[in-house]
């Protein structure tokens, strides 16, 4: 197992090098000069030159790249041109918001998706199966921002039962310590704010979780059906095992594998969805941070935040692969 992890980590190195080159090239392939883009229409040549020097754009390309990678290796992810603060610190303060949202979205997607998929598989080809398929297709095809705004309109504007955005009632003056609203509210000894935090989580979690929910539902359904038709399941039933036991020991145990893979990939994918969901719901996470950086033409921030997203994605995939070993003893990593 240890060897496998080391090999996977080594395997990630070329991926990251490739990615760093692509991201580096991306900024340089964009039409125009980032310095001009940051400073605006009527910037004087001296001002543009100063900004180019600040951004390191006045050096030869290879020097720029080596400097960039050297910085990354030292753990220096650069700083934002807007407030000159180290990027890593900015990301860390916003990460708890994204984590809270992602976990909530996954709880929703897994908690609803798996039972829904199992339900559909039990009634395969029936009308309820068809209904589930339609709903999950809708989940995949509705753009997240449309779904988010629609949810806001229905539940916040029309029904008035849930807040339209934000992480907590701004009038409540939550004292921020850990940046996890749910933890901070408890630290303050305010269960009412904890509940308010949960209420703020519901709509963005549904919006963000809609695509994973749809995929998890469909994979669960397909996987359960697959396994159900296998010989060992028939044998188990023939032995006279109770249906419940057949389900848990013989079907689900095997059906989990593809589902877990998909869940793992979806967790990584949620970062992408978070960019939109966080913007729609005024959610102060890393997703919206990227959008702000793009709006501010803060190229280094965009470049390195995407690199960090990629790192997270790789890490999540690795963790999922390791989890495999636990749920499927047939897999031996060596």
């Amino acid at each position: 197992m240890g060897k496998y992890i080391v090999r996977r980590l080594l395997g990630a190195i070329p991926v990251l090098i490739g990615l760093s080159i692509i991201l580096f090239a991306f900024v340089h392939l964009l039409p125009g000069d980032p310095a001009t883009a940051i400073l605006g229409q009527h910037a004087t040549p001296e001002r543009v030159a100063a900004m180019r020097a600040y951004l390191g754009l006045d050096l030869p390309l290879w020097q720029q790249y080596l400097g960039y990678v050297g910085g990354l290796l030292r753990g220096d992810f650069g700083s934002s041109v807007i407030n000159n603060q180290p990027l890593l610190r900015e990301l860390l303060t916003r990460f708890p918001a994204t984590l809270e949202l992602t976990v909530a979205a996954m709880i929703y997607a897994v908690g609803v998706g798996i039972p829904l998929g199992r339900f559909a598989s039990r009634h395969a080809q029936g009308w309820s199966d068809g209904a589930v398929t339609v709903v999950s297709l809708l989940g995949i095809s509705i753009p997240v921002f449309v779904l988010g705004l629609t949810l806001q309109y229905i539940f916040a504007v029309e029904l008035g039962v849930l807040p339209a955005g934000g992480r907590i009632d701004p009038r409540a003056n939550l004292h921020i310590q850990s940046n996890f609203v749910l933890i901070d509210s408890l630290l303050m000894g305010r269960p009412d704010l904890f509940i308010d935090g949960i209420r703020h989580l519901i709509l963005p979690a549904i919006a963000l979780g809609s695509i994973p929910l749809a995929i998890i539902t469909r994979i669960t359904r397909a996987s359960v059906l697959d396994v159900s038709n296998e010989d060992h399941v028939r044998t188990a039933r023939a032995k006279g095992l109770k249906e419940k036991r057949v389900n848990s020991r013989h079907i689900m145990r095997n059906a989990w594998l593809p589902v877990v893979t998909v869940i793992g990939i979806q967790v990584g994918g949620l970062l992408g969805g978070a960019v939109i969901t966080e913007t729609v719901f005024a959610w102060n996470g890393v997703g919206r941070f990227v959008v702000e950086a793009i709006n501010n033409r803060d190229y280094l921030v965009v470049q390195n935040t995407i690199l960090i997203f990629a790192l997270v994605f790789l890490a999540v995939n690795l963790i999922v692969d390791i989890l495999y070993a636990f749920i499927n003893p047939r897999i031996r990593y060596a």
Partner: protein, 573 residues
């Protein structure tokens, strides 16, 4: 929308230097008095009587939640130029002079009780209000004001390089020679060249006066910006004299201000609110949803397309800011044929149905242009701009004798600006109008930034759509810095429009040098008349920035430049 173009002042500076450098005859001091134009030499505190929202007895208390389209950038008013950062800072830190609430052109005293200008237009003397304390308990006096000016004058180079000093560059660095404080209540600012717009510039939030103690404690002039606490959230940060005090900034999430219980100008009424929380909501529809669901009480801006929804909702009130601080024009460059011909330029103006464009593309927030600056601008003159008249356009073309009526006509893609909400739609409408009278425009487009901007700025386009988001509602900010001021080397017209009229430029120079209101007014009027006669561009219109609030939000005085003070705001619930 305060801000957009760096370098606006480059132009203003150039025109001033031109003013000095030329064989200028010294401006004779007005015989009567050197009282500044808009200067009521009074010590009366500004009144903030609300002019909108229903009357009623203001109630104290409550939290106002304000949705802003973005987060603030920094917590030091001197180092910001975006509309959201200044919107927050203007509640906390005050300027020597300000604008009468609801206007863009009436300068009134704030931390100065009066001001005057020397006959040569170079020395501005401000009398500093006594008995005012900063939020940290220290006193406002002439020395404190001088500390602020000195800090702006000696702003660290790193901040300039980072692009944080837009306003300091063009108002202080380019113009101010030095500052003295001869006694505890007097500050004298010496300019490098006369500039009658200086008082209006002093109303800009970046020139708010901060507590010297807080500037020192917050390391506000740290050579490395990373060490500057004053601008990055503090403590201390944003320590001024205003009706609200800065409490905290959680980047990306919110800014919280609390009531200043010992505000010096409480006699004017307010502050009533206990707290103001600013929350960035980037998406326009999400902003509307937040308003309608009661999550926020006031939106700094809403999308023009949502105005109708707001008006149809009895729980909300639509806020009309009266005028705008931007102007869209149909640009023409006189180095390109056929635009070297006056009759052709006039024909362009008669050919375009400007009113139809405003109605079709400005979403109910448009104002038809009546000069080269929006209504409500200080010293703007209502001109008899050509009305839509295709026959007259054809006649002018015939009279011009020009036979080759083809030219490249450009519009930008991937952009929407306040003065140009739908560039492509507007372009197509103008194109049809021009073709209808016989012009042969060749449609072209380029991505807004940097291609389009770089090309139009350097005079590569014969005809194109462009405009200006102002820095303040002063006529100079439109005429001299944005469009027609002489700059370059030697001082001459900018390459953008290549419009040269020495008499017009001299009229602007005279207006900037004049120390009396009559002289300023006359100079700007002459400049506008000459521009009308030359028709260098066709002014189309401006777009107001709409806002909305819950119906229970009372006492807000809308401002065309978003200089809105929450001192008078209260919650009727």
């Amino acid at each position: 929308m305060v801000r957009t173009r760096i370098g606006a002042l480059v132009a203003a500076a150039a025109i001033l230097v031109a003013a000095c450098g030329g064989a200028a005859s010294p401006t004779p001091a007005p015989a009567t008095s050197a009282a500044p134009s808009t200067a009521p030499t009074t010590s009366a505190a500004p009144s903030t009587a609300p002019t909108t929202s229903a009357a009623g007895t203001p109630k104290a208390g409550g939290t106002l939640v304000v949705a802003t389209p973005g987060d603030i950038n920094r917590t030091d008013p001197a180092l910001v130029d975006d509309a959201t950062s200044t919107y927050v800072a203007q509640q906390v830190e005050e300027t020597l002079l300000t604008l009468k609430p609801g206007t863009g052109d009436v300068v009134i005293p704030e931390l100065a009780t009066e001001w005057s200008v020397s006959p040569d237009g170079l020395n501005y003397t401000f009398k500093i209000r006594q008995g005012v304390k900063f939020h940290d308990g220290t006193d406002l006096n002439a020395a404190a004001v001088k500390v602020n000016f000195d800090r702006w004058i000696k702003i660290p180079k790193a901040y300039v390089d980072l692009g944080y000093t837009y306003y300091i560059d063009f108002v202080i660095t380019a113009q101010v020679q030095g500052v003295t404080a001869p006694d505890a209540s007097t500050v004298v600012v010496t300019l490098k060249a006369p500039n009658s717009s200086f008082p209006v510039q002093m109303t800009l939030t970046p020139f708010a006066i901060s507590s010297p103690k807080a500037l020192t404690d917050g390391n506000a002039s740290a050579p490395d910006f990373k060490d500057n606490k004053y601008a990055t959230g503090g403590p201390p940060a944003m320590v001024g004299t205003g009706p609200f005090m800065f409490k905290e900034w959680v980047p990306g999430d919110h800014v919280t201000l609390v009531k200043n219980p010992s505000y010096w100008n409480a006699a004017a009424g307010g502050p009533y609110l206990d707290q103001i929380t600013f929350k960035p909501i980037a998406d326009a529809t999400a902003t509307l949803n937040a308003l309608q669901s009661g999550g926020v009480d006031l939106a700094q801006t809403i999308s023009p397309v949502d105005v109708a929804t707001v008006q149809g909702d009895s729980k909300l009130a639509s806020i009309d800011r009266g005028s705008a601080c931007n102007l869209g024009v149909l640009g023409m460059n006189q180095t390109h044929k056929p635009f070297d011909n006056l009759k052709i330029r006039q024909a362009m103006a008669y050919a375009v149905n400007r009113k139809a464009i405003i109605d079709a593309f400005f979403g109910g927030a448009g104002i038809l242009a009546s000069s080269w600056a929006p209504p409500g601008t200080l010293f703007v003159k209502e001109l008899a701009l050509p009305e839509y008249n295709p026959d007259k356009a054809k006649q002018l073309i015939a009279d011009s004798g020009v036979t080759d009526l083809s030219f490249d006509f450009w519009y930008p893609s991937n952009v929407s600006r306040p003065y140009m909400p739908d560039p492509k739609g507007e372009f197509e409408a103008v194109l049809r109008d021009l073709e209808a009278v016989g012009f042969k425009p060749n449609p072209k487009n380029a991505p807004w930034s940097p291609d389009y901007l770089a090309a139009e700025e350097s005079g590569k386009y014969p005809a194109w759509l462009i405009g200006w988001n102002c820095d303040y509602l002063g006529i100079d900010n439109f005429l001299s810095t944005a469009f027609f001021g002489y700059r370059g080397d030697p001082y001459g017209p900018g390459p953008e429009f290549a419009y040269k009229n020495d008499a017009m430029n001299q009229a602007m120079v005279d207006a900037l040098k004049a120390t009396d209101e009559a002289g300023q007014k006359a100079g700007w009027a002459k400049a506008q008349d000459l521009i009308l006669a030359d028709m260098p561009t066709v002014p189309i219109g401006s777009s107001k920035t709409p806002a909305a609030a819950a119906a229970y939000v009372k006492g807000l005085v809308p401002s065309p430049t978003l200089l809105e003070f929450f001192q008078s705001v209260w919650l009727d619930k």
